[in-house]
């Protein structure tokens, strides 16, 4: 089967500085892939490049369509949902408004309603807090909201930037279990960026390791996990 996302020779820039130096990797249909690497390796930049949030060069093909020249909102419409680093909560809006904002560009109103119900089956806690101002949610709840908001786009691929960041282990476990369910039940493929390599390798089937803007290691998660050399030198655990 053709890959869902295929990236080759991807370069990305902040002003004149090149942050990604020709990345190539691909993501299979339906699977979860993780992108690992130290601070500053370029993980966030890679996700931003896919979403068109930074200036980029090279080829990005999503579901057979080149998206490397497209604007963010068009990429979103094709079914790429980005859950940004730091959650990106719209603090001045209610939980409900945060969720509905995602569906503004969608024409299929019945699909929107179905996705809202789906969100609440995954995160019943958000339903209880539907009228609450999103800025007053706890960190864990805000992460749930960020994932839910992305779900409301009706995506085929979800880009998740450190969803475990700053959360207590129990909440992280809960969220990761739900991510697995979303992947299996709703058929949403995922590209997961994580600092916590052990956690990410348990969820994802495939992994790439980045170092200063280039891929230095790739393979099935199981292989990376079981190779002590790789673990020690690249994953730091």
């Amino acid at each position: 089967m053709a890959p869902l996302l295929e990236i080759s020779s991807l370069r990305a820039y902040y002003g004149a500085t090149e942050a990604l130096h020709g990345l190539s990797f691909s993501i299979a249909q339906g699977g979860i892939t993780t992108l690992l690497g130290a601070n500053g390796a370029g993980k966030t930049t890679t996700l931003r490049a896919i979403s068109g949030l930074v200036r980029r060069e090279g080829s990005i093909v999503f579901d057979g369509r080149p998206i490397d020249k497209m604007a963010t909102e068009d990429i979103t419409r094709l079914g790429v949902a980005h859950v940004p680093e730091g959650r990106g909560t719209f603090v001045g809006l209610s939980v409900e408004e945060n969720l509905k904002i995602a569906s503004y560009g969608r024409r299929d109103k019945s699909g929107v309603r179905r996705d809202l119900d789906l969100v609440f089956t995954y995160f019943p806690r958000l339903k209880e807090r539907i009228a609450q101002q999103a800025g007053t949610l706890s960190g864990g709840e805000q992460q749930m909201l960020a994932i839910s908001r992305a779900l409301m786009l009706g995506p085929r691929l979800m880009l998740l930037d450190e969803p475990s960041f700053g959360l207590a282990p129990l909440i992280v476990q809960e969220i990761f279990q739900i991510m697995r369910r979303i992947n299996e039940e709703a058929g949403v493929s995922m590209l997961l960026v994580e600092q916590n390599a052990a956690l990410a390798l348990n969820l994802a089937e495939n992994a790439y390791v980045l170092e200063t803007g280039t891929v230095v290691m790739a393979g099935p998660s199981a292989e990376l996990k079981n190779d002590e050399g790789i673990r020690k030198s690249y994953l730091g655990y």
């Binding site: 963010t72 979103t76 940004p84 959650r87 990106g88 001045g92 809006l93 503004y104 800025g135 992305a150």
Partner: protein, 349 residues
């Protein structure tokens, strides 16, 4: 908007109905005022002019609030749009004999276009840089109004004198009373439109962009187009305020619209309460009242309490501003809301 909903929905509903009833009552009284007073002189024409100016500034503060409070873009230059609106009205009336009502949509359109076009390159600017660029606008526009080749239209530094329109249909109202009504009606319409905008999908998208621009982009919102459009709408509001100002004040000149005006509008927005519609009204009152009287009040105060030192003009204004910002960081509207919430908790608990 920023209130945290803890009360039961029924209570919220009741309080919303109460607010609406109060608001409508207040507006009816305000509209009836000139008719009740008539030519008795019980409230002077000068007072009606002052009230009109407050309302005009409230529209301008609202315009800036849409941009800064609800969309997160700072402007230190909205006085420029006020000036463009005022000159549009003045030139159309003076040179082309256009009816004063028609100058309002004209000022709105021109300011929207200029605001939108200015907003486009401003997209690349964040925070401080945007503030500086808009500040440049505030500095440049009054100078451009003095530009020699525009003099046939603008009359240079002399400015343009206008005549206040009379009340139509033989209404028993003075010109000031009539224009007070006009300004009130326009303001109500513009606040109503702003409220509807903010309660709509585009309004929520505006707030999302303010809260997290990048995330708003990932939600499929075309953040660039939105920001430029909001800049245009904001300028439109301020332009209409400027046009009304020209008509009721019967005069425009470059020096009426110096950069202090831009600062005054911003101060009004912050003091009234950023991202608040009632705050814009309070801000308008603040701009007109405090600005115009701070100087005189400083002198009076100095005499009244026999201060041994001589306070400079504007001292009171400065002190008021500092105290307000420390005591009510959420602006007066925010402060009142917090006070109200505390009172109710006292009563309830």
């Amino acid at each position: 908007m920023t209130a945290i909903t803890t009360a039961a929905p029924v209570a919220a509903e009741t309080s919303r109905n109460l607010t609406r009833t109060l608001l409508i009552g207040l507006l009816l009284v305000a509209a009836a005022l000139p008719f009740l007073v008539g030519k008795s002189g019980f409230i002077s024409n000068f007072t009606f002019l002052q009230l009109s100016l407050m309302i005009v500034y409230a529209i301008a503060v609202l315009g800036l609030n849409l941009l800064t409070g609800f969309n997160g873009q700072i402007s230190l230059g909205h006085g420029a749009f006020f000036a463009v609106g005022a000159y549009t009205a003045a030139i159309l009336i003076e040179h082309y004999g256009v009816n004063y009502w028609l100058t309002l949509p004209a000022a709105a359109l021109i300011c929207f276009v200029i605001g939108y076009l200015f907003g486009l390159p401003a997209l690349r600017l964040e925070g401080h840089y945007l503030a500086l660029a808009t500040f440049g606008l505030a500095i440049a526009v009054p100078q451009m109004l003095k530009y020699k080749h525009l003099e046939p239209l603008t009359n240079g530094v002399m400015g343009i004198n206008l005549l206040k329109p009379d009340a139509p249909f033989g209404l028993p109202l003075s010109g000031d009373q009539w224009m007070y009504l006009v300004v009130l009606v326009v303001a109500v319409a513009m606040f109503w439109m702003a409220r509807n905008l903010l309660n709509s999908r585009p309004g929520r998208a505006m707030v999302a962009i303010r809260d997290h621009t990048l995330a708003a982009g990932t939600m499929g919102i075309d953040t660039s187009r939105y920001k430029a459009t909001v800049f245009g709408i904001s300028a439109l509001y301020v332009g209409v305020a400027g046009a009304l100002h020209a008509i009721i004040f019967e005069f425009v000149s470059p020096d009426s619209f110096r950069f202090e005006l831009s600062i005054a509008i911003l101060v009004g927005a912050v003091v009234g309460g950023v991202a608040s519609l009632p705050g814009a009204v309070i801000g308008g009152i603040f701009v007109q009242f405090i600005e115009k009287y701070a100087d005189a009040m400083t002198k009076k105060l100095t005499q009244a309490i026999h201060l041994p030192l001589e306070l400079q003009p504007w001292t009171l204004y400065g002190i008021t501003l500092i105290v307000l910002i420390y005591v009510m960081p959420g602006g007066i509207a925010g402060g009142l809301a917090a006070l109200w919430a505390r009172l109710r908790r006292h009563k309830g608990g």
